[in-house]
């Protein structure tokens, strides 16, 4: 075993700084985040959980078309945003609503896609958040391009590119990691391994020792962390971001977590997994354990609790209010955004629809 392999292969066990009972564990390579970070993260977790639960409720009420919840994965969601600096970029998937909101994007704008108003609702440049990607793994190469552009411009931007365990099987995952490595692009590839791709368990997705072991095949350091331990995730992702920023090239981080709920509200998880598979994961809940640790460390003041509850209440209210009225989308928009200047063909078609609508109204 040479140094290269030691550098590129992941830790023997997923990094965990706080276990499921809230007990602290020392780690030779990673330090516990600051109290402030943990407390801020706690607030974000509570808020994130509320976003998930509120959005799911709104689907049941027909106010969202569909919602892929990250319930149980909130530590990953929160950590992915917290480790980024303002100028950094985030490349999220359909499941990453909480990360996006955590990064400061308006929750209603974020949910535009899932509400069915438009394909993407927020200004990607406002907070440097790419549109949520539905075609799996395809956004990862975009992340490499954004990172490479930043380097060419001499900026020290880092790009956080998210995907799921299932998405790692796509060819684009491979191409993105390889391109990033060859161009030393400052991208942190963050895989939320939640055990499932819709109904397909990880064991049918890959027989690799871990997803983090995929890094060495590209010359990219791979690391893995307990995906329900916010402290460990902040440490591991934070270090990955630092290394990428320092010019050490791309980093691959795998979080071991679990999709506690169905794939989306439209999915029926009972068809492919037993409840008793889910139960142990409930005990590993990311919020419970951070709460346990903060309590035992005397960090969970009433003030903090109130701050968290306020943030959660506020965002839930925002969702209920914002997703209430039937929003109006002008059908004219169907034609205006394809090109900087519509083709004559599109202009003709827009006129056709305008005419049709006018006749209907008449």
């Amino acid at each position: 075993m040479t140094t290269v392999e030691e550098q590129l292969l992941p830790s023997k066990e997923p990094v965990r700084l706080i276990d499921q009972d809230g007990v602290l564990h020392d780690h030779s390579s990673y330090q516990l985040p600051t109290q402030q970070a943990l407390v801020d993260g706690y607030v974000e977790l509570i808020k994130g959980r509320r976003i998930n639960d509120q959005a799911s409720a709104l689907v049941r009420q027909g106010r969202l078309a569909v919602y892929p919840s990250s319930h149980g994965q909130e530590a990953c969601q929160v950590a992915a945003s917290m480790v980024l600096a303002d100028g950094d970029w985030l490349f999220p998937t359909y499941r990453d609503t909480v990360t996006i909101v955590s990064r400061g994007v308006d929750p209603i704008e974020t949910l535009t896609l899932l509400r069915g108003d438009w394909h993407s609702g927020y200004d990607p440049y406002a907070r440097n958040v790419a549109p949520q990607s539905t075609p799996l793994a395809t956004q990862l190469t975009h992340a490499v391009g954004v990172a490479h552009a930043a380097r060419l411009k001499g900026e020290d931007t880092v790009v956080m590119a998210l995907c799921g365990d299932g998405a790692t099987s796509e060819g684009d995952f491979h191409e993105a990691l390889n391109f990033a490595a060859v161009f030393k692009a400052p991208v942190v590839f963050f895989v939320q391994n939640n055990g499932f791709a819709i109904s397909v368990p990880l064991s049918k997705q890959t027989v690799a020792p871990s997803i983090a072991h995929k890094g060495i095949g590209y010359g990219v350091p791979g690391e893995r962390a307990d995906g329900n331990d916010l402290a460990g995730l902040l440490a591991v992702l934070g270090q990955a971001v630092d290394k990428a920023r320092a010019g050490e090239g791309p980093q691959l981080v795998e979080a071991h977590t679990y999709r506690v709920q169905a794939h989306t509200n439209a999915d029926d998880a009972t068809r492919y997994r037993q409840d008793d598979e889910v139960t142990p994961w409930l005990a590993k809940d990311p919020i419970k354990r951070l709460e346990a640790y903060l309590s035992s460390a005397g960090l969970l003041s009433d003030d903090i609790k109130r701050r968290a509850e306020d943030a959660a209440t506020r965002v839930a209210q925002q969702l209920r209010d914002g997703l209430m009225p039937e929003p109006s989308v002008d059908p004219e928009e169907l034609f205006t955004h394809l090109y900087a200047v519509p083709t004559p063909q599109l202009a003709e078609q827009a006129a056709f629809l305008r005419d049709e609508l006018a006749r209907e109204e008449a």
């Binding site: 539905t134 791709a197 397909v200 599109l346 078609q349 629809l353 049709e356």
Partner: protein, 328 residues
């Protein structure tokens, strides 16, 4: 099983089940087609009935799925694969265009690829981005593929059976929005094979040419036109490749006017082809140019706007009205 009321989803499921029973070499695989039975439940129960070797989940990679199917077909199997939504077939485009379509020709007929690529396609279900594409145009433009799109429950069953028995690769476009509507069918009835269009309704005034999800809309439009005193013929292509020129042109010559209806964007599409070939063949029978009612040349809209994209009854009737009746 004569005369049962079932949905297209059930008919497709039954077709797979019957094909797998009839022929051990038929395999079904793709994303979530095993225990889950597919996101549309088309493969419901197949793993339970035929075992993991015959119906199975794969890793999440469409190019891999199609590529593996090619190899299986090369070595004696009859694979049926599902692209979860047709827009998720694009990562497999290279495999489909450069290998599936070309293998028999490349090897002078020595390697045949009897395989079916099932694609839930088209819109009308309120799906978010990438879930409502109509990609048949890409495949129809690719020599070597057979492209089929059923519009009725009975055809869904028959055409899928025929597609699985077909000696060549078939891209099988399943109109998602028709999955759930039930029809009374007799699946034992003899039915025509791939390559034969069918006249769904006879009418002397003009012909509507449609396939897949647009057929029921065309039928509805014909109904409405009849109420207004105009009798329309409706031709259901059933298969886009091979194309049934005979049936289509006979109808157009009889009626002298025609409208093509399809959900896909119109530019350089299957609809363009239909207009072009009908005009080439029936020019002097035409009293007016063949019209198209298709999706606009835009990406499929978000759910709240999809109604503006879909060819609807009114738009079809307007097009029919536009067929220069005063000239005739």
């Amino acid at each position: 099983m004569t005369h049962q009321k079932i949905s297209m989803a059930q008919a497709l499921n039954q077709a797979l089940r019957d094909a797998m029973t009839a022929d051990d070499s038929v395999l079904m695989f793709g994303e979530d087609v095993g225990a889950l039975g597919g996101v549309f439940r088309i493969t419901d129960g197949l793993t339970a009935e035929f075992g993991e070797d015959r119906c199975f989940d794969t890793p999440l990679a469409e190019s891999g799925i199609v590529g593996m199917a090619i190899g299986l077909a090369m070595n004696g199997m009859r694979p049926v694969v599902e692209m979860q939504f047709d827009a998720f077939g694009y990562p497999a485009f290279e495999q489909i265009v450069s290998h599936v379509a070309k293998m028999r020709n490349r090897t002078r007929g020595r390697i045949a690829l009897p395989m079916v690529i099932r694609m839930p396609y088209a819109g009308g279900i309120g799906g978010v981005e990438h879930h409502c594409d109509s990609s048949e145009g890409y495949y129809a433009h690719t020599p070597g593929l057979t492209v089929v799109a059923p519009s009725t429950v009975a055809d869904a069953y028959t055409l899928l059976r025929r597609a699985i028995e077909w000696p060549d690769p078939v891209v099988f476009m399943e109109p998602k929005k028709l999955y759930w509507a039930k029809e009374e069918v007799d699946l034992t009835e003899p039915a025509p094979g791939i390559g034969t269009a069918v006249v769904r309704r006879e009418g002397a005034d003009a012909t509507l040419i449609a396939y897949g999800p647009s057929v029921p809309v065309a039928m509805e439009a014909a109904e409405a036109a009849a109420a207004e005193g105009r009798e329309l013929t409706v031709v259901d292509l059933r298969s886009v490749v091979p194309f049934d020129d005979e049936t289509v042109c006979a109808a157009v010559r009889r009626t002298g006017r025609a409208v093509v209806v399809a959900e896909a964007s119109g530019f350089a599409s299957v609809s363009s082809e239909i207009v072009a070939r009908v005009t080439e063949r029936c020019f002097h029978s035409l009293a007016a140019p063949v019209r198209r009612v298709t999706g606009f040349d835009i990406p499929y809209p978000p759910p709240k706007l999809e109604k503006f994209q879909l060819p609807g009854v009114d738009r079809i009737l307007d097009a029919v009205d536009d067929l220069q009746w005063e000239d005739s």
